[in-house]
Amino acid sequence: MSKHWQSFGELNNTEAYQKSLQNEFKEELPFEADGALMDTQTPRRDFLKYLGFTTAAAALAASCEVPVKKSIPFANRPEDIVPGVANYYATTYVQDGDAVSVVAKVRDGRPIKIEGNDLSPITGGGTSARVQASVLDLYDGARLRFPTIAGNEATFEAIDKELATAIGGNVVILSSTINSPSSLEVIKQFLAKYPNSKHVQYDAISYSGILAANKICYGKQAIPSYKFDNAKAIVSIGADFLGTWISPVEYARAYAKGKKLNAKNPVMSRHIAFETVASLTGSNADERFLHRPSETSAVVLGLLNAINGTAPNLTDKKLNVGIEKAAKALKAANGNALVVCGSNDMNVQIVVNAINEAIGANGKTIDFGTVNNTRQAVDSDFTALLDSKVDTLILLNSNPAYTWAENKKVENWVKGIKTTISFNAKADETSMLCKYQIPLHHYLESWGDAEIATNHFSFLQPTINPLFKTRQWQDSLLKWTGSVVDYLGTLKTFWSAKLGITNSWDKVLQDGVWTPIPTMVSGSPATFSAAGVEAAKTALAAAPVSKNIELQLYQKVAIGAGEGTSNPWLMEMPDPVTRATWDNYLIVSPAMAKDLLKIDLANNGQADAYEVHPKKKVVEITAGGKTVKLPVLIIPGTHPNTVGIAVGYGRHKNVGRAVIDEDKSVGANAFQFATVTNGAVNFTVADVKLSLTSDLYPVGLTQTHNIYNTDQGNRTEVMKELTLAELKHNPNEVLEDREKELAPYGGLEKFRQDGSIYKAYDKPGIKWGMSIDLNACNGCGACVVACSAENNVSVVGKAEVLRFHDMQWLRIDRYYSGEDADNPKVVFQPLMCQHCDNAPCENVCPVAATNHSSEGLNQMTYNRCIGTRYCANNCPYKVRRFNWADYMQADSFANNSSDLNDAVQYMNEDLTRMVLNPDVTVRSRGVIEKCSFCVQRLQEGKLKAKKASRPLETGGESKNWDLKVACQQSCPTEAIVFGNVNDSKSAVSAHREENANRLFYSLEQLHIMPNVSYMAKVRNIEEEEHKAKEA
């Protein structure tokens, strides 16, 4: 056998070979156990581990991990839920005494939008900003999630058991006004069970002056129905009835009826306002006169005397003129006149009653047959309570430790009570002092009813299962009464008795409202007793007029007495009067600003500096030994010696994250400045000291410039306003104006064709259009919130508003005009995307992300948008909004919005996001968005008509609305009309036709062909004045 060898060494088997054979693997393998290698920083195995790990990590990181959002489908579809189709349930918005009939839109079991209930004879489908925003309160993270005993979680059973013995002695139920008949029944049963118990009503904003005066004059401690629609002449003295006074939605609606006019019959009501600080109502008045708060007595007395033929003799000559005018208008109206006053002084209200008697308003515009039930509390009841001995306090939707003038006293009083029970949704300032906290359902989770005005019933039904461990207070009281029937049972029994056999419970529940006597007109006027008038007159004549700077506390439209402070939508809604968001501030007049702040708004340089810098000067306000520091806003329409502070701020952090900004509670509690005189709360202070500090504080204004005329020419194309006298004198004034503006481009007739080098094309089919009556719009802002709710518009927080990054698609521009810079005329102009036929935004987009639909919509394609912002620059209306940051946490970059304001974080919590409308895309960072004319509603409406095999109907002759856009739906005054303008029978076409002589398009001369028309604002200013001007 031959030998096989690999080398000569092997063949010869030399010594060297032997040696080399032994040393063949001389180098130690790394996994040899001698440890040297394993001790190195990265041994081989670790190296492999690291390699694997880093590769995997790099691969993960590089694959752009998108945050995962989970959604769970129904395992079993509930019977009445069709995915993608909304259910609507009629219910009632209830907040303290306020009650507004609404319809809740429910998608997949979640209420997401509140609409007005068209069937309501009171509000007729109108809402307010607060009603619109109330759905967000349902998903408020600050709501109490379970009942507690002394701060520890407890079960309802445990509480019921403990309270069965703990309730005793003098029992007091302290509630805000309750106008629910069934609830009053429940309370009655409870009071019957506990002998020493009573029910005391307490309202944060007191109307006890009116109640007391009416008791004296008419023998009825009630607020009558005010019929602004019947009034040809209206005088308001410090009553902000369009914004906050008693029942603003109802009044705004009625008021607008008197203000609307058409070409054939140019008649409208005349409204003269006397006020101390600028309010929404004063801003809408035909004429406004300013007075000091302490002059209120003199003004009402002067007015009464003027009506009786004595010339007023006030030191302020302007006021004398105003009173003369008011008296003349009231007398001329022949009974169709109304005087309302916001004072809480009984004597003032008695004199106001006397005035209303003198002008014959009683029975015509004032109806005591149908009384308003929303405010019934009397201050003296509460002051008496504070001094009485109470053993058990049941607190129900009232918060006196925050809203009462002497809040420290209330605090001590509550602390001194043995058993304190709070029914409240949140652990607010008073509830947090209570031992037993029993959280309440939100109204959208509740059963109930309300008698808003006599014989005007409205019903509540739950629209969602309770989110938390909450219970209706009626159920608790029934339990403690020992009733075996729960509240729903009680409610049904109560109503089946009342409804009789002709009306079914299901039917009224479905309608949401029930009015047994269908008309609001009632019989003869209430009998007036003049007995108290002389005494009141004497008291008022003796009332001193202050010589110092005075303070007026007022409510903001969105915030109210503080309920809105915890709602981000309301906080971010620009106040109609000041255009500020998120903040509390001191309002001063331009005249006072000159002295106090050294800012003269008549000086362009100083005015500019004030406007363009959000940081405002801070003033220290001292009154009655209390001091607060607030930034100052200069608001014309405010008396030169009066300053105003809104109540509702300085809340405790328990009520919600929106009340906190940069770890501090926003603003200060202005209720502390109120005083209690003669047992009634007085929201004015006759003597305040103001001292300018060196501090600056940023205030988020969404509009900085307020005058549309400039030294370089009056911008009449932006806004048109005229007086009724001018309109009567020349009905075509607005048309002539337009003709003049368009003359260089072919004139009104040929403008569409001659204004362009391109051919004008027919636009057949549907063409969406909107028409807004500036006479009806009072600027209340309901549409702004409705739009945000409907279209998932981001809340950006104060820090971003300060940077002018607000996102609202719809804004209400507020302009001042007229000669008097201290007391200007005010006009509100709702402004959204105008959906121009020749949209300047469309042709500049490099990627065609915004374009025109065949139905005349200017559409925005979010996922095509690359965010050059050229369209926003080129929009003459500046209605396009850019997503500066990831406000909605909707883009694929994780954790990139943590720097944003807490409001944004809050709105992005899972709970809060339940309010989002699933029909509308949430926009990601870096894209432009804007008003879409609620395109999702348009599609739905078109489908509705298609399914019914008929043409689309948008009001008008058919009276049928296949769709209403969100702003239109929410508007209490029906100022916004929307529909198909190619349909000559639609409401919008009719609106344009009826008001053709007032119609204008903003910035029409640019030939961008906007599709939103406006009806010029007409002010009812006296004929003589017009003639004097002409001459």
Partner: protein, 479 residues
């Protein structure tokens, strides 16, 4: 007896009686030597700025454009101001290379290389702004008209922003080709002088095998001429199209037919000023006073005073039209937002006026034109002024437009906006320092071409010959 017309007044284009070899030595030596300390300091500062810019952009891309202080009324601010500013600067290079080449302006050779490089870097900087100012930059490719499966969905050919995309990319491409084709013979020279293999290899590749044959030269000359012909309309078109971004809009202060010529003049103005700023430094640092002469500086100062006056007339025309048109919106923009010194942005308008219109008038004086310090100071001032001009056009038009309700709060940039701008300087100077170190800053071949047409050297070289008698020639010839 002169063979060529010689002006007694004309200055030589190159000082110091250089020979061809000397020219090569002077210009290429810095490339072969180690960079100076100054170079390192400058380079590192530039890189640091660049990195700051990169971080600023990172913030902008990750957190959104809200990192900048733009707002719902002012959609463009520093971003587009800087874009237009850099594009403007990027005009001088091509103007010098192309238009002056076509007009046979021999003096251009001293500065054209650096000016062209500057153009390319400036356009690179300019390009950053429209890209990173997008809200969704990761979708930026949407601006390219490419066949796609979305319909297909095309870009919007009506949009001036799209025209920008084409204009800038074309301009950049042509400028780059022009610059590089001019570089080829010089890179070959560097290659031929190279002492290390790596150098030889790299410069060999980048000079595309240039041998200097007549055929090469002939083709090179033709290519230069063709590219010059192509670039010439681009010089006018780029800024014209940039001006369309504004001129085709409806915003008062933007919607102006005067913009195209006014923008082009402004661009040349700022471009020349930037060339001046760089040249004054480069000639000093690299010791190239003989090539970039006082004559160059004076010539460019003349262009500056001319174009400065053109923009001045444009400003006054705008003001006049603001009044004459009787348009209240334009009237407000021009007479209040701009011309009123006490309005919020009045300072920027008068800053612009002072820097662009008033101060360049100093160059009517020859003494000032030939003063290096004045020249440098003025060149910086002009670029500040031109930055103001763009800021004025963009911001003062936007912040108060048609509806007074949307008039804006005061806009001032955030640190990341400034960072982005600083970063563009970083990019520009990083590129410029690398260029100055690795490439001939003066066109060697072209300098040689003009070396002998200047009066001085011609006289010196020819005097001996001219003085010879005819007999002497015959004698020499016989030998």
């Amino acid at each position: 007896m002169s063979l060529k017309y010689e002006s007694q007044l004309r200055e030589p284009l190159v000082y110091g009686n250089k020979t061809y070899h000397q020219v090569t030595e002077d210009i290429i030596r810095p490339i072969e030597a180690k960079p100076s300390k100054l170079w390192y300091i400058g380079f590192y500062i530039s890189v640091a700025l660049l990195l700051f810019g990169v971080y600023s952009i990172y913030r902008d891309v990750t957190y959104g454009i809200g990192q900048w202080n733009l707002n719902k009324t002012i959609g463009w601010g520093w971003d587009i101001t800087n874009f237009v500013w850099w594009v403007g600067i990027g005009h001088a290079g091509t103007l010098i290379s192309a238009i002056l080449l076509l007009f046979r302006q021999g003096w251009r050779t001293g500065v054209n290389r650096a000016a062209e490089a500057m153009t390319i870097f400036a356009v690179m900087c300019a390009g950053q702004f429209p890209i990173w100012h997008m809200g969704r930059v990761w979708m930026a490719f949407f601006v390219m008209p490419y066949p796609n499966s979305r319909g297909p969905l095309w870009v919007n050919f009506n949009s001036p922003l799209l025209w920008d995309v084409f204009a800038i990319s074309t301009y950049f491409t042509v400028s780059l080709l022009f610059w590089y084709s001019g570089l080829i013979p010089d890179l070959a020279t560097v290659r031929d002088r190279a002492k290390t293999k790596l150098r030889k290899h790299l410069y060999g590749i980048s000079s595309f095998g240039w041998t200097g044959s007549t055929k090469h030269w002939q083709r090179h000359e033709s290519l230069s001429l063709v590219l010059a012909g192509l670039s010439t309309p681009l010089v006018l078109s780029v800024h014209t199209i940039v001006s369309f971004d504004f001129a085709t809009s409806v915003i008062p202060g933007w919607h102006t037919t005067i913009f195209p010529p006014y923008f082009v003049a402004g661009a040349v103005f700022s471009g020349f000023a930037m060339v001046q700023s760089l040249m004054v430094v480069v000639r000093k640092v690299f010791g190239m006073e003989d090539y970039i002469t006082m004559g160059h500086i004076e010539a460019m100062n003349k262009v500056i005073v001319l174009t400065g006056s053109i923009v001045g007339i444009a400003y006054l025309t705008e003001l006049f039209m603001g009044w004459y048109s009787q348009s209240k919106y334009e009237g407000y923009t021009f007479w209040y937002s701009r011309a009123n010194l006490f309005s919020p942005y009045g300072w920027s308008y008068w800053g612009m006026m002072a820097c662009n219109v008033v101060s360049p008038q100093i160059f009517w004086s020859r003494k000032m034109r030939r003063n290096l310090y004045v020249t440098f100071f003025m060149s910086v001032l002009v670029n500040i002024g031109m930055w103001f001009e763009r800021f004025v056009i963009i911001v003062t038009s936007l912040y108060r437009d048609y509806l007074p309700s949307s008039w804006s709060v005061y806009y001032s940039p955030s640190v990341w906006e400034i960072g982005f701008y600083a970063g563009s300087f970083g990019l520009f100077f990083t590129c410029f320092f690398l260029f100055a170190k690795y490439m001939p800053v003066i066109a060697v071949a072209e300098i040689k071409y003009v070396l002998k047409i200047s009066g001085e050297s011609y006289k010196d070289d020819m005097s001996a010959i001219e003085n010879k008698e005819a007999g002497e020639f015959a004698h020499e010839f016989a030998h």
